[in-house]
Symmetry: C2
Amino acid sequence: MIFEKKELKKKSQNISEWYNDVLLKAEIADYGPARGTMVIRPYGYAIWERVQGILDGIFKDYGVQNAYFPLLFPCSLLEKEQEHVEGFSPELAVVTKGGGEDLDDPLVVRPTSETIMYVMYAKWIQSWRDLPVLINQWNNVVRWEKRTHLFLRTLEFLWQEGHTAHATNEEAEAMAKTALSWYKTVYEEYYAIPVVTGVKSEREKFAGAAKTYTVEALMPDGKALQACTSHNLEQNFSTAFEITFQTKEGTREHVYQTSWGFSTRSLGGLFLTHGDDQGLILPPKIAPIQVVIIPIHKKSDDANLIYVYCQDIQETLKNGGVRVIYDDRDEPSVGRRFNEWEVKGVPLRYEVGSQETANRTVTIARRDTGEKIVIDRSDMLIKTQELLGAIQRNLYEKALVFQQANTTDVSSYKEFQSIMNDKRGFIRAFWCESPICEEKIKEETKATTRCLPLDAPEESGSCVSCGKEAKRRWIFAQAY
Amino acid sequence: MIFEKKELKKKSQNISEWYNDVLLKAEIADYGPARGTMVIRPYGYAIWERVQGILDGIFKDYGVQNAYFPLLFPCSLLEKEQEHVEGFSPELAVVTKGGGEDLDDPLVVRPTSETIMYVMYAKWIQSWRDLPVLINQWNNVVRWEKRTHLFLRTLEFLWQEGHTAHATNEEAEAMAKTALSWYKTVYEEYYAIPVVTGVKSEREKFAGAAKTYTVEALMPDGKALQACTSHNLEQNFSTAFEITFQTKEGTREHVYQTSWGFSTRSLGGLFLTHGDDQGLILPPKIAPIQVVIIPIHKKSDDANLIYVYCQDIQETLKNGGVRVIYDDRDEPSVGRRFNEWEVKGVPLRYEVGSQETANRTVTIARRDTGEKIVIDRSDMLIKTQELLGAIQRNLYEKALVFQQANTTDVSSYKEFQSIMNDKRGFIRAFWCESPICEEKIKEETKATTRCLPLDAPEESGSCVSCGKEAKRRWIFAQAY
């Protein structure tokens, strides 16, 4: 499609304006007609398909099976678990009309599938032989959000939700942590985003969970993104839904459960983290297009020679497993096309003119550094793979340096407030774990507890808010 | 999970009861809590994932890109195309409440995505350079069906919907036919179901289409299943949605469009076609499990020797690309487990006892014929692949023989009525193409026009109903 050349908003000036603008201009997404809904365009969806492929492979290797549960279910199901219904009630979309008639029993559009799945689990699980149940589904969910934001908060989003049932709490706890480790891998190894993993406070945990684990990422504006979560539900839902099993010893017990989800929200974090004033920068491992080849010829050149050379290059890269496209459009101009692929964040641009063709070289532009490199055709494939690896590492390193520079150990509340008024970022601070202090900090600084890092040692300190005894440093931040 | 041994209903006695019973017992699907909704369990979903993989590969090779459009959109969008809204209004689920409040503008849960997609296409398509647009989405849709049936007719179903836009009607027409040919391939080569492809009558076509192509399959009870459809929308929607493009010559024209869908309904046809009184029979090409290995040992046997041999067999099959599982559960009994895998329709069962282990053989039971074959370990892999191929062909051949035996050329209305009162099946008959005769035939025989086959020659005959001149023989049948 024709790229309309209008100045892209600058990330360095206003990240929020840039974010919306770049997603539209890069043809990643568009606004749907209903408030808060979003269209994921083919270039954006191709990234999601890559993420799906990665996670789905991990799940299947572990023995998780995919299934599909209904989108619509009776409101009454949701009410079986008290905390759960209280958490989700304000966000529900409800179908009250079907086939032209008012429904006696309105149906909820799933905001998450614990209840609809567990009413089935209660039917299917009878004996210890039926355990563990390891089921995942890839689907869409709807949550009636008041303020929406492309990818980061939309009325409907796509995700996977894993739901497992186990004979013991130890197994459930291990499962919840394993899912968390998968998610961390996707963020760090594929998205090139360093993250902190930890456990949520009582206040911030999932409605109905005993324990919520979280992956937290720091965005360039100093705000935290809750990147995905994994819950140990223990017996909360199995008690409400009467999911019991006969043990080897012949007794009956409630199962122990987990649920964990990774959504298209994560793509919002990806786009925010790596872009610059020229547009998106996609990490090579998840970029749908890793290399774009652009032939450049002046009137005096033998265009055909250049084309043949380009096609040969494309063939070599493709056979080597590189995701490459050859952009030989007549319009728009070469300059406009350079710009178009920059906005789209393609990691490497190969410029091929008469000089490259004659010398059997390729001129490469790196999207992340802007650097230009001339390489020989003879070792092009290996050099390409090296460059893609280097970009992947560089993006991670840059994000890590930023995260470290913006994570501050704070001991005084004054300093806490001052940081939150200024550059924000992650704050590590002792907290007494009382919800009163948590609430006070939130009101005064807009910062919430993000998590207690998994590797946080037990220490001896005093709460940054009330000064009382505190044992662990929590991560605080303002959040998306 | 434990297989509860209760007599399976007999297909030979009551196919409808058998169908529901076998889907529950084989753990393919289950009923959701809301009327007409269905859960697709892992074993059933694994089949759908295979179908998705096949079609998605075909689409991508052709240049079709996946995307995602919102589930919910304003009712007003649907109203833009008159025939379309009239066709879908009686089937809509409507969200009237969101976030605890009544919505001023209620939202439709998509029954299909023409309207939500085309309002975006109108924005994205400007010039001939933007064409063709070839977009597909894999998603869920909701249609408020009064009478529901697992897979065949459910309130919500999963499908893919391809939506393309072209510069000429010739291109659109070719696209609609190409999609139809992909679907025919899936049915015949993977599902092992012979089909008739053709064009729908005015009365039976999709609401809003200029022309609807269809794949029709004959079920064992003599009823037709509309297996999937592909539509040439011509300029009906582009006129309503003002989707225009600038031609090379500088004029503005409306685009020509197609849409085509393949759904989980197809799985209903698959299960109905091939099963028998013992349960499902899955064609090897789409069976999630192609071979189950069951060790059999008496008390006097060296169980360990048998296990080692079984694992060796499993390894060889797995490395050879065969989808195999090794069922070494202690319970239920071997007989019950044989039965369980029969109900699930696994094409081949490998029985391995002390004799097989000593002789380095395997005893194989074919699910489709019940035949038992002893083969040597040395050429097991190649024999397995041959057997899987033979089963695939046999299932297709049997279905083809049935289809041919139950397709009757009919010239008198009396014969038409008599067949529809008796064994049913496909009837090929001259029809004058007047909706009055079509309606009369439907009222009197419950048979509808299924399609005019693509290869139907122009002939000279008289309408089976009114006796007036007719040029082509149409396919009639009672339909699911």
